[in-house]
Structures are given as structure tokens and as C-alpha cells.
């Protein structure tokens, strides 16, 4: 189910840069819905059913809270629904804007969870290792840090438990002390580890000019096609945004660009862009089936 992951890193990166960028910029409700639905669907496809549940549990409350908080602080808008107790108006526009902002954040979170799944640290190193070696190393070390840290934490905590110095032993003060001791151990370990890794990379000549790096990525015809598709769609949507085809404003009154073929084509292009990985998935599956039946 991870066909898109096998594409060249540059294709993956172009896709995510465009999709996440557009998700942050396009405030048209149709764009937001497209982005949120596609992002959610894709993260479900990538990570399975279990994450769907946690996603919903986490995102629904956030959506509701954000939609509720915005009208409490923002009172702009021509449609006054009611008055708050302090005398400021509650406007329809501020509620809608709150919903839109919440949808945008949820969509971006979804897309980033997909990004993490697809753009593994080796891809990042491959892409940026030549241009900005130190930054890409820091990036990959950071990305790797969280799982490593939690694994090491488990080890240290177990070791401490064996000598009776875990957070589960003793009075509250003692527990706190033991916890702090573990934290100190972990911090030292993390710092030392980072220095070690950096030294080791330096010793191998990472980032020196003329040094080549092994990579298993090959930019072939398939990648070319996908990259072209993504870029054409992206440029089209961007042009549409610049020429006002996706114009939408929330204040002072809600108003969007009128219906037009151009506008419709823009939304279609945006939908196609968001659905790219899923389309690729379906396409490859169909291809596989077709090839299989021939044998």
C-alpha cells in the first residue's frame, strides 16, 4: 500500500511541499475540504485503521475548540448572531473563519503525518546531504532521536528498577529524585550520543566536496512522469490562486469568486494533486492485476 514511497525522493518532496504549502495558503472552503479529506484518507491508507481512530479522537475536539475559541476573541463580520455577555458581538463570519482555520490545521497535521511516513531520513539525507550537509544531518538525527530516546529510556528505567531506584520506588520525594536521576542520565546520554554521531560522520568525511554517497534511488521514466504531473498541477493551482480564481474572504462578509469553468478546473486540479498518491496506488494495482492475468 506504499507505492508512492517507492518513487524518487524528489517526487515525494515536490508533492509534499506543494500540498502542504497549498493547504496552508488556500482558505477557500472547497480547498480546505479537499485537502482535509484527502490528507485524512491518505494517512489512513498509510498507517492503517488504528491511527484513524486516534486521529479522530484527537482532531475532532481540536476542531471544535478552535471553532469555538475564534468567535470569543474575534468579533469582526457583518452578520451579528448574538451578543456576548461583555457586549461584543458574536458574528457568523468569525465562527466560519474559526472552522476554516481549524480545518486547515487538521489538514496540515494529517499531511505531516503522511510526510513522516513517506519521507524517511535516508531520503532527506539523500536530498539535502549535498547542499546543506550539516542541516540534513541534524534533521535526520533529530528525526531519529525520538524513537532512540524512548528505547534508551526504557533500558535505563529497567536498569534503575533493578537496583531499586525507579520512579515506582519510595516516597514522593524519593520518586521525584529517582525520576530526575533518570532524566539526567538520559540527557547526558543524548548529548554524548549526538557528539559521537557528529564526530563519526566527520571522520567519514561527510559533507566534503568530491565525496560521493551511496544511494539506491534512481530517477527513471516513471518518476519523470509523476514529477511532471505534480508540477503541472501545482503550477496551475498556483496560477489560479494568483489570478484570483480561488478568491475567498471571510471578513467583513463571506464572499468567494463566482462560479466559473476556470474556477472549477482549479478545484479539479487541486483535487487531482491531493489524490496523486492514491491515484498512483490504484494505477499500479490495476497494472499489476493486468500483468498477472496475462501470465
Amino acid at each position: 500500500m506504499k507505492e508512492f514511497k517507492t518513487y524518487h525522493p524528489i517526487v515525494n518532496l515536490a508533492y509534499f511541499v506543494l500540498v502542504i504549502g497549498f493547504s496552508c495558503v488556500l482558505m477557500h472552503p472547497l480547498c480546505l475540504t479537499t485537502s482535509l479529506v484527502c490528507g485524512f484518507a491518505y494517512s489512513a491508507v498509510l498507517k492503517g485503521k488504528k491511527t484513524v481512530k486516534t486521529n479522530i479522537l484527537f482532531m475532532l475536539p481540536m476542531l471544535i475548540v478552535m471553532a469555538a475559541v475564534n468567535p470569543a476573541f474575534n468579533h469582526e463580520g457583518v452578520t451579528i448572531i448574538a451578543y456576548l455577555t461583555n457586549g461584543n458581538p458574536l458574528t457568523l463570519e468569525s465562527i466560519l473563519y474559526g472552522l476554516a482555520a481549524a480545518a486547515m490545521i487538521a489538514a496540515v497535521i494529517c499531511w505531516f503525518s503522511c510526510f513522516n511516513e513517506i519521507m524517511t531520513s535516508d531520503k532527506l539525507i539523500y536530498l539535502f546531504g549535498r547542499i546543506i550537509p550539516s542541516l540534513s544531518q541534524v534533521l535526520s538525527m533529530t528525526l531519529r532521536f525520538v524513537p532512540r530516546f524512548s528505547a534508551q529510556l526504557k533500558t535505563v528505567a529497567n536498569a534503575q528498577r533493578c537496583v531499586g531506584r525507579d520512579v515506582s520506588n519510595g516516597s514522593i520525594i524519593q520518586r521525584a529524585r529517582h525520576g530526575l536521576a533518570i532524566l539526567s542520565i538520559m540527557t547526558t546520554w543524548a548529548l554524548e550520543n549526538a557528539v559521537d554521531t557528529a564526530d563519526s560522520m566527520k571522520a567519514r568525511g561527510f559533507g566534503l566536496s568530491g565525496r560521493t554517497a551511496f544511494s539506491i534511488f534512481k530517477f527513471d521514466k516513471r518518476d519523470m512522469k509523476a514529477l511532471l504531473c505534480i508540477l503541472i498541477l501545482g503550477v496551475y493551482v498556483l496560477a489560479g490562486k494568483i489570478f484570483g480564481g480561488m478568491y475567498f474572504r471571510y471578513f467583513p462578509s463571506v464572499r468567494g469568486a463566482g462560479f466559473s469553468i476556470f474556477g472549477l478546473s482549479l478545484f479539479a486540479a487541486y483535487l487531482a494533486l491531493c489524490l496523486c498518491p492514491i491515484i498512483i496506488e490504484v494505477w499500479e494495482a490495476a497494472k499489476w492485476k493486468a500483468l498477472k492475468s496475462k501470465i
Binding site: V78, G87, S209
Partner: protein, 327 residues
């Protein structure tokens, strides 16, 4: 990075060594320039011109030092025309530079005041009011005002020359602030007049946020002058909130504890900063722009309350002095 001192062709070696870095730096610089330009912060797009160009910047320098005089004269002009036909609206709308921060982003308070003074000076030169005598609100010579304000119950700090809510002494003859938390509101009905205008925007229509243009009433009057009821002890703010609610006119405020008053951010969806960096709502009672917030102005029978929108920190409506103390 090791730096090896090179002998011959130093530049070439350096160029070769740091080629990537130079390219990255150039790319970053290009991107930043593009963003600066297209983001609307570039000089010509923003409407202001670089130093020495035509416009209000022409009289910079020494004249700035004695703006207090022109400020007075400006205020004088306004007091002579209590019809609301103030100096700024009599001028033909001419191409003025939109006041914006020179560095992009927002201006600091000091920059805004300096800019407003420059603009006021400019318009004062155009209207050419003859003699400029000192009004009652000169900052340097305000012992009268201090005595007057003290006698009326204002507690003015010796060092700062302000009360605890950062209000400078009230000019002699004007009412001193009444704290809203101490005000006693009775159920005795009284009447005063209230009007809300934003016609100064027509002088600077090109500055106005294009999304807001449709909200602008044709004559610039949001709430025509009319007699309204209030209860004895209420403040200008109480009156505004009630009337706006009753007439379903949008109004947003924010309470500012530091001035112990509400600050009116927008009326009729026309907000502060919608018409340039120096724009916002101000109020005057009987022609005077109080130097304290509207929650602290206690209404009296027959008062004439006007809310006006300024595009120039108060200079275009005649309330420049009070603008320095927050609106």
C-alpha cells in the same frame, strides 16, 4: 571548516571552495527580495517614497522640532469650525503617501506620532491658519491643568505627570475622568446626542483596505446625529454599546486595563488600521477630544458625543493631542 591561506588566485580558490554556499546565499537573497517586493512592502508599492522624494517628507529636518506650534494652530482651526467641517475634509483629496512603516511591518508608537506630526504640519501649511496662539493643552506649560485636575480629584503623580492610568492632566474647564468601576449609575433618564462618522476616509480612499470599501456609507455617516437616552452616571462607552446593540450596528471593543477603559477597535466593521497605519476611532464630547478612554468619560445632560474615524492619528479630525495618550 578549515581555512587554508592561498597565495595565487586566492579569489578563484575561495570561489571554488565556497561555490555552493555563495549560490545558496544568492538564492536566499533573491527569494527574500522577491517576498519583500511581492509582499507589498516595497517602497513604490506601499505608496511612500524613499528619502528626499516629493510629499510630506519634503519638509523634514529642522521644522520637525517646532511642531508643537503647528499642532496648536491646527487644533485652533478645528475649534473654529464646530460644524464638523474640519480642515482636513475641506481640502481636495490629493495624492498623499500612505503612512506605513519604512522597514515593512508595523511602526512603533513613536514613529507613528512623529509621522502624524509631519502630516499635520503639512496640512497645517496648506490651510495656513494665521496666528497660532497657545491653546490650553501645551505639555510644557500645564501647571494650571495640573492644579485644576488635582482640585477635581485626579491623582497626578509628580514624577510622571500622569495619573495611575497614564492620563495627563485634563485641560482646565474639561471634566476629569471617572473610573467606570466607581461610577454610580442611577435610573434617571437623560438625553444627549450621538453621531458616528467616518468621512475622513474619503480623503484617503486609496489607503482603505479594498475589502472594506463596500462597507463605507456614501456620505460617511454610520450613525446620523440624533438624540439618545442614557442613564445618569453612564459613560460614553456605555452609551455606545447600548446604541450599537439597539441599532444592530457592528462594534468591537477591547478592554485595556492599563488605561482602565475600553478601546474601540471597530465600528460598522471599519477597524483601526483599515485606512493606513495611523487610522482608528476617536471620540469627542462637545467638540473636545478627551485625553482618556471612553469608559472614563461620564456623560452629562445635553452632551454632544461624536465618534469619528481618523486616518491621521487624530490630526484630520482635530483631536491630535489626545491621540498621544491613547484613544
Amino acid at each position: 571548516m578549515l581555512f587554508v591561506p592561498a597565495q595565487g588566485g586566492e579569489m578563484e580558490i575561495l570561489m571554488k571552495k565556497y561555490k555552493n554556499k555563495i549560490i545558496i546565499a544568492v538564492v536566499v537573497a533573491v527569494v527574500l527580495t522577491a517576498v519583500f517586493w511581492w509582499g507589498g512592502d516595497a517602497p513604490t508599492l506601499r505608496g511612500w517614497n524613499p528619502e528626499g522624494a516629493v510629499g510630506f517628507g519634503s519638509g523634514q529636518g529642522t521644522e520637525i522640532l517646532d511642531t508643537s506650534d503647528t499642532r496648536e494652530s491646527d487644533a485652533e482651526v478645528k475649534l473654529e469650525n464646530p460644524e464638523g467641517e474640519n480642515g482636513a475634509s475641506e481640502e481636495e483629496p490629493h495624492e498623499e503617501e500612505k503612512p506605513e512603516a519604512e522597514s515593512g511591518g508595523h511602526m512603533t508608537a513613536e514613529e507613528k506620532i512623529a509621522l502624524a506630526e509631519r502630516m499635520a504640519q503639512n496640512s497645517a501649511e496648506e490651510t495656513k491658519s494665521g496666528d497660532s496662539e497657545s491653546g490650553g493643552s501645551d505639555v510644557q506649560d500645564n501647571t494650571h491643568d495640573i492644579d485644576y485636575s488635582r482640585a477635581n480629584g485626579m491623582e497626578i503623580n509628580e514624577e510622571t505627570g500622569e495619573d495611575i492610568y497614564k492620563t495627563e492632566p485634563v485641560p482646565e474647564g474639561q471634566p476629569v475622568p471617572v473610573e467606570p468601576n466607581e461610577a454610580e449609575i442611577s435610573d434617571r433618564e437623560m438625553t444627549c446626542t450621538l453621531s458616528i462618522r467616518c468621512d475622513t476616509i474619503f480623503n484617503h480612499i486609496s489607503w482603505l483596505d479594498s475589502e472594506k470599501r463596500e462597507l463605507l456609507p456614501e456620505d460617511g455617516v454610520i450613525f446620523p446625529e440624533q438624540s439618545v437616552k442614557f442613564y445618569d452616571g453612564e459613560s460614553v462607552f456605555n452609551l455606545l454599546v447600548r446604541e450599537m446593540k439597539r441599532n444592530r450596528i457592528h462594534m468591537e471593543f477591547e478592554s485595556t486595563p492599563i488605561y482602565n477603559s475600553a478601546y474601540i477597535e471597530g465600528i460598522g466593521n471599519i477597524y483601526e488600521f483599515d485606512c493606513g497605519e495611523l487610522s482608528g476611532w476617536m471620540y469627542s464630547v462637545n467638540g473636545w477630544f478627551p485625553n482618556y478612554g471612553c469608559s472614563r468619560y461620564r456623560l452629562n445632560e445635553g452632551d454632544r458625543v461624536e465618534w469619528v474615524y481618523t486616518c491621521d492619528l487624530g490630526a484630520d479630525v482635530g483631536g491630535e493631542y489626545s491621540a498621544r495618550n491613547g484613544r
